[in-house]
């Protein structure tokens, strides 16, 4: 099995693992983490496809590889924004729950924080 196929299958599994975490982990920070696992899986899948495009003495198709660099940097900026939102929510309410039927959160630092 070529490295591209092996890591392509590995990436498919990573996307599944991340998706599971995104659904079942109730903590928003863990959801951000799971989303990054999905993201890295997508990147590796894309990288495996780029590797298959090796030609003309270049080890991988440089166009998807350049897009990957762009993608990794944009993923970081999105993560930073999500974390900043989460920390602000925590500072405002003292809790970070996403549950729609959560107890009144307008008083900071009450029971469940």
């Amino acid at each position: 099995m070529s490295a591209a196929t092996l890591f392509g299958l590995c990436a498919a599994a990573l996307i599944g693992i991340g998706l599971y975490g995104l659904i079942v982990n109730p903590h928003p920070l863990r959801k951000i983490l799971a989303f990054n696992v999905i993201g890295s899986g997508v990147f590796i899948l894309f990288g495996a496809i780029a590797r298959r495009g090796a030609a003309a003495g270049i080890g991988g198709d440089p166009v998807p590889q350049a897009l990957l660099i762009t993608g990794i940097v944009v993923a970081f900026s999105a993560t930073a924004l999500a974390v900043a939102l989460l920390l602000r929510l925590f500072e405002e309410t003292g809790s970070v729950t996403l549950a729609s039927d959560a107890p009144d959160k307008t008083q900071p630092g009450t029971d469940d924080a």
Binding site: A3, L6, F7, G8, C10, A12, A13, L14, I15, G16, G18, L19, Y20, G21, I23, V24, N25, P26, L29, L33, A34, N36, V37, S40, F43, I44, L45, G47, A48, R51, R52, G53, A54, A55, A56, G57, I58, D61, P62, V63, A66, L67, L68, I69, T70, I72, V73, V74, F76, S77, A80, V83, A84, L87, R88, S95, V96, T97, A99, D112
Partner: protein, 313 residues
């Protein structure tokens, strides 16, 4: 032999990904995620994407890990409440079923990819000479797909503005993050004095060789930003107030220079972001030099977060 290494690497990565999902403590999960990011770097080397490997090591593993570790420490008190919200067995099984189905569909797709694989590598190899740069990735990033890179720089700027805008009104214009106090004679302050000169040279080197070899402005800027963060964490320097004119000028300078050169291309080369024949390399260098400080500041400040202190000292 290489096959065995690759299979072992894939196994380790899957194990660490699983750990970062199921670990009880967020801190432990993020620690696993950082190790995972570093191992991904090896995957990129195996996939012949050295430039991507450098980016992954610097940003995917390094900066993202540092960001999440900081957040996990701050949010530790909220974890017990979140655990009580864990969905029931039925939802978990359903989620597992959906995830397995997605993985299976993707795996079928991976095994059914077309042969021969479509590729733009020959086109890049045929056209790279007109750009004057030797690294095909840099040629794609700053010539063939320069629009992507321009939009990416703008996305980064907008993300930083988004992070800043989360500051409470009374802190607007103030310094981001909290003032760090570290022992001035401690090991952190020592490292923060000794490492930055080396790190800055390494960052500039990686930036400079990016024209012809793996490397480039994103990887270089990340190293520079991490050196700046180290100095700030050791309490040797403070983050600048976000109302400073020099700071805001540098933050928009990179994208503005990029757009200006793109507009010049409309007149001289008949298309936005097209470079006139013969001077493509100097123009690419001007863009990279303008973007470097912008990217360093944005990456560093994004990690420090929203302003937390008033505009007056």
């Amino acid at each position: 032999m290489i096959d065995a290494l690759n299979i072992g690497l894939a196994g380790l990565i899957l194990g660490l990904a699983l750990w970062s999902i199921v670990a009880r403590e967020a801190f432990a999960a993020v620690a696993g995620f950082m190790a995972y990011g570093l191992l991904l770097t090896l995957v990129w080397v195996q996939l012949h994407g050295i430039d991507v490997a450098l980016t992954e090591a610097a940003i995917g593993g390094g900066l993202t890990g540092a960001l999440l570790i900081g957040a996990a420490t701050r949010l530790r008190s909220t974890e017990a409440a979140a655990r009580a919200e864990r969905p029931g067995t039925a939802v978990r099984w359903l989620a597992a079923g959906v995830s397995v189905a997605v993985t299976a569909a993707l795996a079928v797709g991976v095994l059914a990819l077309p042969v021969p694989a479509p590729t733009l590598a020959p086109d890049v190899a045929a056209q790279i000479a007109v750009t004057g740069v030797g690294n095909p990735i840099t040629a794609v990033l700053l010539a063939f797909r320069a629009m992507d890179t321009l939009l990416e720089a703008i996305v980064l700027l907008f993300a930083l503005i988004g992070v800043w805008s989360l500051a409470p009104d009374r802190f607007w214009g103030g310094r981001p993050g909290l003032r760090q106090h570290a022992d001035p004679n401690g090991i952190l302050a020592y490292v923060a004095r000794v490492l930055p000169p080396i790190g800055v040279i390494a960052g500039i080197y990686i930036f400079w060789v990016g024209a012809d070899h793996p490397g480039g402005k994103f990887q270089g800027a990340t190293i520079m930003a991490s050196m700046w963060l180290l100095v700030m964490m050791a309490g040797l320097a403070d983050a600048p107030p976000i109302s400073r004119t020099w700071l805001r000028t540098l933050l928009v300078a990179g994208p503005l220079v990029f757009i200006a050169i793109g507009l010049v291309g409309v007149v001289t080369a008949d298309a936005f972001l097209a470079y006139p024949a013969g001077i493509a390399k100097p123009l690419i260098l001007v863009i990279e030099f303008a973007l470097m400080p912008t990217l360093t500041l944005i990456l560093g400040l994004m990690l420090v977060g929203a302003p937390k202190r008033g505009p007056l000292p």
